[in-house]
Amino acid sequence: MSMDIKPAGVAQAASGTEQYLSFLLGGEEYGVDIQKVQEIKGWDTVTRVPYSPPYVLGVINLRGSIVPVIDLRLRFGLEKVPHDATTVIIVVHVPGDRGERTVGMVVDAVADVYDVAGANILPPPEALGAVEKVFVRGLANQDGKMLILIDVDGLVISSVVGESQAAA
């Protein structure tokens, strides 16, 4: 089952605040710009594609389109967990060579939707490793919890197309 979380006329958040969909990954909470999210769907049979890095699980059939799926756990170097009926795929849109590119991201679970004020977003800390730095847009303090805001475009394009082309 999939649920559409971008109904027509999403109330535009008050100026200066953005809406983020948060998801869990290895006990940490990450946020992704809700405008980028097309839908959330359950686990589906993934067809492996040769010559792909381990974190690109393969491709699925999303209503007739061939959509690649990346495993964010593996992308972030976290421990691998088996995929089952409770695994969740967040389908996002990122800019592609020809219009938009649709890509699925496997996460542990979807958590919440937050309004994050721009003023509450802190730049990523210096201490982050080079890999993480590319994908972290900033940190937000939300209700006393730390929300890691990810740069979906950078993350997805570098994962799907490869580092070299993403930089170009």
Binding site: T45, T47, V49, P50, S52, V160, V161
Partner: protein, 702 residues
């Protein structure tokens, strides 16, 4: 807002029609060479006239102005005031190119570059001056080439010559006085004087005086008749051409005279006032000099109009019929769901069979919509051959056959460039000069034939010339010189011909701007391979050569063979599969303990282990326990090791690149009946990648 959108739509139609008009002009002009047929000239004239009118209406002044001078020339030809000369036709053909370029810029919403137009305007003016109605313009050099006037067969009623713009200094006038006497049929041509006046009023203050003297009594009045005429005074110092544009559509059905209203005394040297003005291109305002300084050629991307498709009405009707049938079948099947009775099983089965048939027919019809006649691609060749043969000094007759053969729109778009390459090559390398042909006992004029036809599930396109044919000795010599082959290698004819597809290969003694740089044939072959097609060359020295392209009818559907390797499923195009064999040990051998070969009939084929290539855990690594699929592309064969052959079925090709990326060895993906994705093998890609990697290790066993 909606008005803007509507306008966008209308402008889009204008562009479409303009390009069609330009094509019509081009093909008309090309047939104009030999016999000046009045109807042809009329067709060309009408196309130019509509483009001018449309361009003026939508504010593309550069196009309108330039097209106007083209139209003037055409009009004189049409009225028999001027003979059709090769010189004029050539300039007109160039003008078509310039108008097309300008229109493309306008379509791409880019500033219209007028460099080409400015240069040609001079040419047009020169030709017009050669035998103008009033030879007031200084006759340029080249008048000696003025053609003798031809008396047009069947004298036509003298049509009003389109008004040429009067050149006046804008600061010397305060406006224009216009006498507008429309033909009584004005309304029947769907023209509304009010619109004209409103447009004029947009240029400045307008005084309108209507002359009602002609009005009959009410009983005798025909409301569709125009009895009125008008005197207009426009208080605005504007270019004459601006006003002419406004009257553009009524010009042929009215008497219109223009007179500038001068500030102060009328200047004596006003050279060209009134009717019979000197037909010169209107002076261009200075600000345009800036764009002239940067002659950036900005060809509109070919892909810009790739989004739309024109479909014959009967194809749509057929589709509607099928959908109607589908609805009936669906409602019939729906009945079974309401109340199921085991006795209905037979009719349920029948219904499902009908559904399957409907679906298949629907699919075929939808595919039909994407099918376009190859004529769309062939259309450009008369012009190309005309220009090239002129340039090369060769005499060539172009024959087009099978223009109505249909193929997929995507294939059609992508085959254009390779065909141009092949035609250029045929003209430049293949076709001999007239003297040489005569010396060889052939007719002076060579024949170039473009032929398209269906064969099985493919479309064949042939480029055939009766020129010199491929020179095998020279190709071999060049190949040895460049180290492409061993000095003592023995090659078959086919292998020799295939050498011309190697990158960087050219036998042309002289590098011309047409061909001979050695880029081209390799690109041609790659493009065709990308489309899933193949190229073959047949040639006979002194008699000519034929290049045969075989392409799949569509890129959307593939006759596929489903294969299994370990737990993974792949699809291979059935067309590329020669046969599948269960190998026995005695047919297997290896070279240097590394490269594996399979003895297939009389040749040894390299073995591609798909499981190694794609890193799959196979059922067994032992070749004799698996199956070898013999595949071929461009005459090269290899055998591919798989575990099992599954079904043969038609699969719908989906792009892997839209959301993901190109993966070596894969041509795309497809969706199985159960909704899972299977990947489609790119056999030509697999073969060339594999052979390139292997070439360092073994000599290719032919």
């Amino acid at each position: 807002m909606t008005l803007d959108l509507e306008m966008e739509e209308i402008i889009k139609v204008f562009f479409e029609e303009s390009f069609e008009g330009l094509d019509a002009m081009e093909s008309g002009l090309l047939t104009l060479d030999a016999t000046a047929d009045r109807e042809t000239i009329n067709t060309i004239f009408r196309a130019a006239h509509s483009i001018k009118g449309g361009a003026g209406t939508f504010g593309f002044m550069e196009i309108a102005e330039f097209t106007h001078s083209v139209e003037t020339l055409l009009d004189e030809m049409r009225n028999g005031q001027r003979a059709v000369s090769a010189d004029a036709v050539q300039v007109l053909l160039q003008s078509v190119d310039v108008i097309r370029e300008m229109t493309q810029s306008a379509q791409a919403k880019q500033p219209i570059v007028t460099v080409g137009a400015d240069a040609l305007s001079g040419e047009l003016a020169r030709i017009l001056a050669q035998k103008g109605p009033i030879a007031a313009a200084p006759a340029a050099a080249g008048t000696a080439a003025a053609p003798p006037p031809v008396v047009a067969a069947g004298t036509a009623p003298p049509k009003p010559v389109p008004q040429a713009p009067i050149n006046v200094a804008l600061d010397s006038i305060s406006g224009w006085r216009i006498e507008f006497v429309p033909d009584p049929t004005l309304f029947k041509t769907c023209n509304d004087p009010l619109r004209i006046f409103a447009e004029l009023a947009g240029l400045g203050r307008l005084e309108v005086t209507a002359h009602v003297e002609q009005l009959p009594l009410l009983q005798a009045l025909d409301p569709s008749h125009c009895y009125l005429s008008w005197s207009l005074v426009l208080h605005a110092a504007v270019e004459h051409s601006r006003i002419i544009e406004v009257f553009d559509w009524v010009e042929t059905v009215s008497k219109i005279s223009y007179e500038p209203v001068y500030v102060g005394p009328k200047p004596g040297e006003s050279s060209a006032a009134g009717a019979g003005a000197v037909p010169v291109a209107p002076a261009r305002p200075a600000p345009l000099a800036e764009s002239a300084a940067a002659p950036v050629v900005t060809p509109a991307k070919a892909g810009s109009d790739a989004g739309s498709i024109r479909v014959a009405t009967e194809k749509v009707d057929a589709l509607i019929n099928l959908v109607g049938e589908l609805v009936i079948t669906q409602s019939m099947l729906g009945r079974f769901a309401e109340k199921y009775d085991p006795e209905d099983l037979e009719s349920l089965r029948r219904g499902l069979i009908q559904l399957a048939r409907n679906t298949r027919e629907l699919q075929e019809s939808v595919m039909q919509i994407r099918m376009l006649p190859i004529g769309f691609s062939f259309n450009r060749f008369p012009r190309l051959v005309h220009d090239l043969s002129r340039k090369l000094g060769k005499k060539v007759e172009l024959k087009l056959c099978g223009e109505n053969t249909e193929l997929d729109k995507t294939v059609l778009e992508k085959i254009g460039d390779p065909l141009v390459h092949l035609v250029r090559n045929a003209l430049d390398h293949g076709m001999e000069l007239p003297e040489k042909r005569l010396a060889a006992g052939k007719s002076e004029t060579g024949t170039l034939e473009l032929n398209a036809f269906h064969e099985g599930g493919s479309i064949i396109i042939e480029v055939k010339d009766d020129g010199a044919g491929l020179n095998k000795a020279r190709i071999l010599g060049k190949a040895r010189e460049r180290g492409l082959i061993e000095p003592d290698a023995q090659l078959t004819d086919d292998q020799i011909y295939n050498l011309i597809f190697v990158a960087g290969f050219s036998t042309a003694d002289q590098v011309s701007d047409l061909s001979g740089r050695g880029v081209g044939m390799d690109v041609v072959r790659r493009n065709i391979n990308d489309l899933g097609g193949t190229v073959q060359i047949f040639s006979s020295e002194g008699v000519g050569s034929t290049i045969r392209i075989r392409l799949p009818l569509t890129l959307a559907i593939l006759e596929g063979q489903v294969l299994r390797v370990g737990k993974e499923i792949y699809v291979a195009s059935l067309v590329s599969i020669i046969e599948t064999v269960q190998p026995t040990r005695e047919h297997l051998s290896s070279v240097a303990g590394r490269s594996e070969l399979f003895k297939h009939r009389d040749s040894y084929l390299p073995i591609i282990r798909l499981h190694d290539l794609f890193d799959i855990e196979p059922d067994s690594r032992d070749i004799s326990k698996g199956l070898l699929v013999v595949v071929e592309s461009d005459g090269r064969r290899v055998s591919v090791l798989v575990d099992e052959l599954l079904a043969q079925q038609q699969v719908v090709i989906k792009s892997l690149e839209t959301n993901f990326k190109h993966v070596p060895g894969l041509a795309g993906a497809t969706i199985h009946g159960d909704g899972t994705v299977a990947l489609i093998l790119d056999i030509p890609g697999l073969i060339s990648n594999f052979l390139e990697r292997q070439s360092g290790r073994i000599e290719l066993a032919a």
